[in-house]
């Protein structure tokens, strides 16, 4: 007879599982077939084994990558002693303690540890006084309830539920079955009363009770009468000799903001909680039935919250990716260009989300001319950012190969009109500056840039064509203006002028024009910062509604 020992496994939420070492070889690893499955990446698929030889348990590393440790010493083969701490690979999610039952009876109904510990099953089934028994069941239920608050993985939670159900009903075995994608009930948890997983995919149980409970959406209780297995082939199982069965449907319920306002959709059954026993004596009292039904309710609730938690984790991943996308987008736009002989330029784009639909570029041409481009893709977020990146790339390539402004814009429009979604457009202001201060520009449906002269006159660069991506037949014709030394051109997106304050008032074009006029003697960098500061102080306290982008160009005096 094998010496009785167990592994106490406590996760970082303080939920403890007890696994009895009831086999000659107990396997540990990442694969599901292992007796103890650990999901950490640092755990090998088949990592270690605990074998029982010569009245001793040995922990043996079976060729793991990250090693096996006992009390922080790496081991290949090591005899286990009571209270030894096991570490499998780099898995620090779980604390694993070896308990030798001959040294100390490790089962305590209530743990004194501040961590939540689920008591191990009582070994004997000696009758307890009824009142006491009910109390104990209640305590058990409270424990499980608390575990939900800490436990993370769905399997852990479901396992706890089944263990609790077994304990409450004093059943021999417990199962939890869930509806799979094919619409069949599938075993999720199969446990015996010693908290061992029962192996296999199918179990001999009363299929008819399960069917009845599942289809009729009601609890089915058979108390202390001999049950003949109707649903199983007679030759494989003649008689399971079951005395008592309880089967409770798991009902989906809707998670609402207010937990009290939870509504149960009665018809939506997603599985069953099933326990049975072949010992006579009646396993179900009214209290335990109620507790069992509450457990089933908790099971569905926890399944739902686990699902939500996974969604939350997905969202976190997405945020990380968006953060990277933002880095890429920032890298795409030049933050500064080397000092130019005849002009200064400063630019900045502030997306309202991780990534924005605004973009700008400053592109030197081979012949010494310089391109300023500022665009706004309709919509926000990733889809808009992708189109912005694509447009920016097209501009860079075409201007680098010395195409004319008209050619570049006309061909970009054709591509967008023919390819992009019907509600994606780009408004674009694109200008080319030569060495004599001639600014040639095309405005495709964009806000009119402001030109402030040193003579303290301001004007807007009028002329307007259709935004890009609407009609493939539009011809874009450039217009030209002459800049004098000291003149300032401010190109911006509507995020600047449509910034709203707490009185629902817009920043507006007039305010921007006035601001530019006043700061015409500052450097391009100072003007850019001045405008951004003013917009931020104008909208103080309110979230940024749209991407904000600015290019300030100043001809040197």
């Amino acid at each position: 007879m094998q010496k009785s020992a167990q592994l106490k496994i406590m996760n970082r939420f303080g939920v403890t599982r007890i696994l009895p070492l009831s086999k000659a070889v107990f396997t540990i690893g990442r694969k599901a077939e292992n007796d103890l499955q650990l999901l950490s990446d640092t755990v090998s698929r088949q990592h270690a084994e605990i074998v029982y030889e010569d009245n001793t348990y040995y922990l043996i590393d079976v060729g793991s990558k990250r090693g096996t440790y006992v009390n922080d010493q790496r081991v290949e083969r090591c005899a286990l002693h009571h209270q030894d701490r096991l570490r499998i690979g780099g898995d620090d999610e779980q604390q694993i303690i070896f308990l030798d039952d001959s040294v100390e009876n490790a089962s305590a109904i209530f743990s004194s540890s501040p961590n939540l510990t689920l008591s191990s099953p009582s070994k004997d089934r000696a009758p307890i006084t009824s009142a006491n028994e009910e109390l104990q069941k209640l305590a058990r239920f409270v424990e499980v309830n608390q575990a939900f608050k800490f436990s993370m993985t769905p399997d852990d939670v479901l396992c706890l539920i089944v263990d609790a159900a077994i304990e409450i009903t004093r059943a021999e075995r417990g199962f939890l079955m869930l509806l799979n994608a094919e619409g069949n009930l599938e075993f999720k948890v199969a446990r015996d009363r010693n908290r061992n997983w029962m192996l296999g995919n199918e179990f001999e149980m009363s299929r008819s009770v399960v069917e009845e409970s599942f289809k009729q959406n009601r609890s089915v209780i058979i108390n202390d009468s001999k049950v003949t297995m109707a649903g199983l082939p007679r030759d494989s199982v003649r008689n399971l000799d079951l005395r008592s069965i309880a089967c409770i449907p798991l009902r989906r319920f809707q998670m609402t903001e207010n937990m009290d306002a939870t509504t149960i959709l009665k018809r939506d059954v997603i599985g069953v909680l099933y326990v049975d026993s072949n010992v006579s004596g009646g396993m179900l009292t009214q209290t335990s039935l109620k507790l069992l039904e509450s457990l089933a309710f908790e099971a569905t609730k926890s399944l739902e919250s686990v699902r939500l938690m996974h969604e939350e984790a997905e969202k976190k991943n997405l945020e990380v990716e968006l953060g990277m996308a933002r880095e890429v987008q920032i890298a795409l736009s030049p933050s500064a260009i080397k000092a130019m002989e005849h002009f200064e330029v400063a630019a900045r784009s502030v997306p309202s989300r991780y990534v924005g639909g605004d973009f700008y570029d400053l592109i030197p041409m081979k012949d010494g001319r310089f391109v300023f481009a500022l665009g706004d893709v309709s919509g926000k977020g990733v889809a808009a950012a992708l189109l912005a990146a694509m447009a920016q790339g097209a501009l860079q390539v075409q201007f680098a190969s010395n195409h004319s402004l008209t050619e570049v814009i006309t061909s970009l429009n054709k591509v967008l009109a023919q390819r992009s979604e019907s509600n994606r457009f780009i408004t674009l202001f694109c200008a080319v500056l030569d060495g004599e201060g001639h600014l040639t520009y095309i405005n495709a449906g964009h806000n009119l840039p402001i030109l402030a002269r040193t003579t303290s006159e301001t004007e807007t660069l009028t002329t307007r064509s259709v935004l890009l991506g609407a009609f493939d037949f539009v011809e874009y014709k450039p217009r030209q203006t002459r800049l004098n030394p000291g003149d300032v051109v401010v190109m911006y997106t509507d995020g600047v002028t449509e910034a709203v304050n707490s009185d629902n008032e817009m920043f507006g074009e007039d305010r921007l024009e006035e601001l530019v006029k006043q700061s015409v003697n500052l450097s391009a960098e100072q003007i850019k910062q001045h405008i951004l500061d003013e917009v931020i102080s104008f909208t103080r306290g309110l979230p940024q509604g749209d991407d904000i982008t600015l290019i300030v160009l100043k001809l040197k005096g």
Binding site: S378, G379, E421, S422, N423, R424, F425, T427, N443, A444, G445, H446, N447, R464, S465, V466, L467, A470, F471, V474
Partner: protein
């Protein structure tokens, strides 16, 4: 958004009421225009008198409608855009393509 269809001579007038923004309203406009084209109604006047707000999807629906009608040699014109809509059509340069009217009679006789 509510959409009513009426005719004046050989012109079909689409009366919109509500915001022409992303979602059902822009979708329904596109569907209605597709239907009208299928019924061989190719002279369309889009009445925006009761449309306070248009967003980029709404603009998209108008552009798409204009393009589909043009593809079958029809015409789509715009009636009474709100101040905000008019501003949007101006900024985006669409006024140079979408003929716009303040008066229904003038719009009808322009077809």
């Amino acid at each position: 958004m509510e959409i009513h269809i009426r005719t004046n001579g050989n012109v079909t007038i689409i009366d919109l009421a509500g915001n022409l923004t992303i979602g059902k309203s822009e979708e329904s406009l596109r569907i209605i225009v597709t239907q009208l084209i299928a019924e061989d109604k190719k002279l369309l006047l889009l009445n925006l008198a009761d449309v306070p707000t248009i967003d980029s999807s709404g603009i998209g629906a108008m552009i798409k409608s204009f393009t589909s009608v043009k593809a079958v040699n029809g015409k789509l014109k715009v009636l009474k855009p709100s101040r905000m809509a008019h501003q949007l059509l101006t900024i985006t340069g669409l006024l140079s393509v979408l003929e716009t009217f303040e008066d229904e009679k003038a719009a009808i006789s322009s077809f």
